[in-house]
């Protein structure tokens, strides 16, 4: 473990923390434009965070330690995940401690804590949200893992930096396995980040919400951390997608600061395109009934398994 490695690791974490709320702001802006509305400012998520941090926290009378600990655990897990996913560079010392499977485990850890916190107060909406979130989670998690396994089989490794390096050096061609995996990954990301066909981030209509139902009881700094964590989650998923399917331009080797300097604007450009794409998907699709979600995610799961089979049988 070198000093430069640690530095690039910290730099990447800082970039993730800074860019994540901006990405959410950008997606919201694109959505508003596409819907013909006047768009909120790009930095609105920042202002929201700032405002929330300054408020006094109100906690329900019967909240236990689980409730108060959860925002910190979720935020910590998402920061860890941001440290593993190669977004700028592949020289990440922390990524040797946790590979792709551990990454999925970290997401699951955050989800389980969120669901437990939602059940902690004992309100109707809390347990409704927890139940639905676990439903989405148990369907999405295997699909995500299968996508990552397809990439692991191609590179012969479950370590994310190695996967990205291998994929970045393949000749540019359309690989059937990656195409299937890409579609599956997009579907999973929509579900996991509470985006439109599964959940609606803009709604507080009781019967349709999932993610929002779980965090209803949170306020002030706890809510700010959870909002930031979900922005980080979106950022992480975007970066996993970029790293697996368009890894070109990522900085390789240790201490190559010039490459990182080039990779940063490239990452921003990719995120701009990706965020616009997400907003487009969101406005052209309608939210599904909750019991259509298993079909949607089941399709994603099958596509991911198909990707793995294609890779195994055809080697493509």
């Amino acid at each position: 473990m070198s000093v430069t490695g640690v530095l690039s690791q910290l730099l990447q974490l800082a970039v993730a923390l800074v860019l994540a709320p901006l990405l959410v702001g950008w997606v919201n802006q694109c959505r508003a434009w596409l819907l013909g509305k006047s768009a909120p400012p790009l930095a609105l998520p920042y202002r929201t965070l700032f405002k929330l941090f300054h408020k006094d926290a109100v906690v329900a009378e019967n909240a236990s330690a689980v409730f108060r600990l959860t925002p910190y655990v979720v935020f910590g897990a998402m920061c860890c995940a941001a440290a593993i996913v190669p977004s700028l560079a592949t020289d990440l010392p922390f990524a040797t401690a946790a590979d792709a499977i551990a990454l999925v485990g970290l997401f699951a850890l955050a989800r389980v804590f969120m669901a437990l916190a939602a059940m902690d107060i004992g309100t109707a909406f809390g347990s409704l949200g927890a139940r639905r979130e676990m439903l989405i989670g148990f369907l999405a998690e295997p699909a995500l893992l299968m996508v990552l396994f397809t990439a692991s089989l191609i590179s012969g490794s479950t370590s994310l930096p190695t996967i990205v390096e291998t994929l970045a050096h393949r000749e540019a061609a359309l690989y059937p396995s990656l195409a299937f995996a890409g579609v599956a990954f997009t579907m999973v990301s929509l579900a996991e980040n509470a985006r439109v066909p599964i959940d609606n981030p803009a709604t507080h209509l009781e019967l349709t919400m999932i993610h929002e139902a779980m965090i209803l009881e949170y306020s002030a700094r706890h809510l700010a951390l959870l909002e930031w964590a979900s922005a980080l989650k979106l950022f992480n998923y975007s970066c996993i997608g970029l790293a697996l399917f368009v890894p070109f331009g990522i900085a390789e080797g240790s201490g190559d600061w010039l490459a990182i300097a080039i990779a940063t604007p490239l990452l921003v450009a990719k995120l701009l395109v990706g965020g616009a794409g997400l907003a487009f998907i969101e406005i052209v699709s309608a939210k599904m009934r909750i019991f259509r979600a298993p079909e949607f995610l089941g399709t994603a799961f099958l596509l991911a398994v198909l990707a793995m089979l294609v890779r195994q049988l055809l080697g493509a």
């Binding site: 109100v58 551990a102 850890l109 299968m146 398994v305 089979l309």
Partner: protein, 669 residues
């Protein structure tokens, strides 16, 4: 690095005798609760810890054998302590230490059943029999110990024998245990060839011809599968576990099921030399089917011990799937990958022994504090029983397979093993294995659902019944037991390299290769090479804790830590009652809907005009009605036909004798 460690086998035998003695003292003073609770059970826990120490020493040592002058004349007991036995003895010691300590505070005088002294005897005979199973080195000693274990656990299950359901559950358990025992007996019969020598040493030396190895393997799979709860022989688990007192459920689920895994490993990897790939494929498929079936049923249970019993079925399924994968690799000569799969199996067996014991004991504390087993009448216990809740949370997170706890490590290893299958030379297997990995991942993801339901409904939220506010936290002994088991979950989770160094003794003995020592360091687990896959839970734990603490400090420093308490918001609805929380049935409803074909459901829905609307749902096992009920009916019909012979009049019986005699004379003509 083979060292002789004289005396560990003698030590283990001595501990078995000590357990029997403790049991005998308990039986001699059946009503002296103080003696039993404060002297005998703690002493037994000390013996368990000693067993752990012996097992650790024996693990690295050479196999030791001895012949005991017990049993029938000319048929002494052979005992042997090798790495595989030692590892499972360690599981037995670790699991039973916690359970015995917990039992010290648990067993009380009860109106409805067995006296504490008798329970103490049965409990210790059970422990001693399990230890004997693990060191037995001939079929005779093995079967005697196996049957003693089954009988002792049967009596423990029926501790409250005045309750009819419990008697029924005990009968079902005994029945399936004996079906299994018959299969195991036949398996040993096949394994000895035609030599008539039933020692394992002889079986190890033989190589069977023709179809006999396959017959032996499938008999072992059925026999040990009946004990472990492999589909479709799993039906006794969800009946027996809720019936038994909690420490007994913990011991049965945590440790006894592992003796079946031990038996399967002993027969397939040690005694049988032939390894055919499709045996492995069948075990893999059966294991995964069991895992999925178990976990799907676990999500819809509303009795907390039944839920945990189904979760045990799931974990046994994962273990059997891992064994199948290891056999597949071994059949193709990929010893290293087989070692990874087998290592994952052993690791998971140890993990399951710890966290399932912990969770069953936690349900025991809840049961004592509330006299309630149904999830629908619990809730909010984290406020009344913080100690039990905290340890149960660790257990639940561990069993859900979340990093950095122990459940994740074994899952990680097993998934790594799955990812190596492209190296197998058969494309049919290469195609099936991704599907198997997908099924395994699905089961693992669902287990998180189960654990959120279990912990959330029991400990979080608001109390669903008024009397729950009087619930008291667990006593001294129970706390120590729960805390030590929870600590083991963390330790096994963050120090995988050290644990695998121990497991590798078993791998070396059975496969001739090891998982560890291919790169990595004391901190970094890397089964093949660090470039391929690496995992360091200690670093992950430290980073998560560090980030969490730093965030807390920074938020407090930059802003403020002001906090107010108020009523719950819940979108502004003024009237909220605890009945509005999800019930156990409600939380499982999505799974019930998605996996509807799995279940046999009876639902009673209220009509809109009902003045007192009631909703009831009963979820049952299809296998019970499709397989067991017809068999039971057939057996009963047959018994009725045979019963016609029994007239109860001496003249009729004399007539039978006469007819038989005539028939024999005619035959012997």
């Amino acid at each position: 690095m083979v060292t002789t460690s004289p005396g560990t086998l003698d030590g283990v035998l001595l501990l078995i005798v000590a357990w029997l003695l403790i049991g005998a003292i308990g039986a001699a003073r059946p009503r002296r609760l103080g003696l039993i609770a404060h002297a005998l059970f703690p002493a037994s826990a000390a013996a368990s810890v000693a067993l752990c120490a012996m097992a650790l020493i024996a693990l690295s040592g050479a196999p030791q054998t001895a012949v005991l002058p017990l049993g029938l004349p000319d048929l002494p007991f052979h005992v042997r302590l090798d790495a595989l036995s030692a590892f499972f003895l360690f599981i037995l010691g670790a699991g039973s230490a916690g359970v015995s300590l917990f039992s010290a505070g648990y067993f009380r005088e009860s109106e409805s059943g067995t006296s504490p002294g008798l329970v103490c005897l049965q409990y210790h005979v059970f422990l001693a029999a399990m230890a004997m199973v693990l060191v037995a080195d001939d079929a005779y000693a093995f079967m005697v110990a196996w049957e003693t274990m089954a009988l002792a656990s049967f009596f423990l299950v029926t501790t409250d024998h005045r309750v009819p359901e419990i008697r029924r559950a005990g009968f079902l358990y005994l029945l399936i245990a004996h079906l299994g025992a018959i299969a195991i007996l036949l398996c040993f019969g096949v394994l000895q060839g035609s030599t008539g020598d039933y020692t394992f040493a002889n079986m190890r030396g033989l190589s069977l011809a023709g179809a006999w190895p396959a017959v032996a393997f499938f008999l072992a799979l059925v026999g040990f599968g009946a004990k472990a709860g492999i589909l479709p022989l799993h039906v006794w688990l969800p009946e027996a576990h809720p019936a038994a007192p909690s420490p007994v459920s913990a011991l049965m689920s945590g440790v006894m099921l592992k003796t079946a895994i031990y038996g399967l490993l002993r027969v397939t990897f040690d005694l049988l030399h032939v390894q055919v790939w499709w045996w492995g494929a069948i075990a893999l498929a059966l294991g995964l089917a069991t895992a999925l079936y178990g976990v799907v049923f676990a999500t819809v249970q509303s009795d907390m011990k039944r839920l945990l019993a189904y979760s045990s079925i799931e974990n046994i399924g994962i273990l059997v799937a891992g064994i199948g994968l290891a056999m597949l690799f071994k059949a193709y000569g990929k010893e290293l990958f087989a070692a990874i799969a087998l290592g994952a199996v052993l690791y998971h067996a140890l993990n399951h022994a710890i966290f399932k014991t912990l969770l069953f004991l936690a349900t025991g504390s809840v049961l004592h504090a509330t006299s309630e087993r149904s999830l629908g009448r619990l809730g909010g216990l984290i406020h009344r029983m913080p100690w039990v809740a905290a340890t149960a949370l660790i257990g639940a997170l561990a069993i859900a397979g979340l990093p950095p706890l122990n459940g994740f490590v074994s899952e990680w290893l097993l998934l790594q093993a799955f990812l190596f299958t492209p190296t197998l030379p058969q494309s049919f297997i290469n195609m099936l294995v991704p599907l198997a990995a997908a099924a395994l991942v699905l089961a693992a993801a669902l287990s998180a659902y189960v654990m959120v339901k279990f912990f959330g409904v029991v400990f979080l939220g608001r109390p669903r019944e008024a009397n729950l506010v009087h619930a008291k936290d667990a006593g001294r002994f129970e706390r120590v037991a729960l805390t030590s088991l929870a600590a083991m979950c963390v330790v096994l989770g963050v120090l995988p390299v050290q644990v695998i160094a121990l497991l590798d003794h078993v791998n070396r003995a059975l496969l001739g290769t090891t998982v560890g020592g291919h790169g990595g360091s004391w901190l970094l687990l890397a089964p093949i090479e660090p470039d391929r896959a690496s995992y360091s839970p200690l670093v992950v734990l430290c980073v998560i804790v560090a980030v969490t603490l730093v965030t807390m400090r920074v938020v407090r420093r930059l802003y403020h830590g002001r906090l107010r308490r108020g009523p719950a918001w819940d979108c502004g609805y003024p009237l909220q009652t605890p009945r509005m929380q999800d019930t156990a049935e409600g939380f499982g409803q999505p799974i019930r809907q998605i996996f509807e074909p799995f279940f046999r459901m009876e639902r009673h829905l209220p009509s809109p005009s009902d003045t007192e609307p009631r909703y009831a749902v009963k979820v049952e096992d299809r296998i019970w009605f499709a397989l067991y009920a017809p068999v039971a009916r057939a057996v009963e019909a047959l018994a009725r036909w045979v019963g016609l012979l029994q007239q109860g009049r001496i003249a009729v019986y004399l007539m039978y004798s006469f007819v038989t005699l005539l028939a024999l004379l005619w035959f012997a003509r």
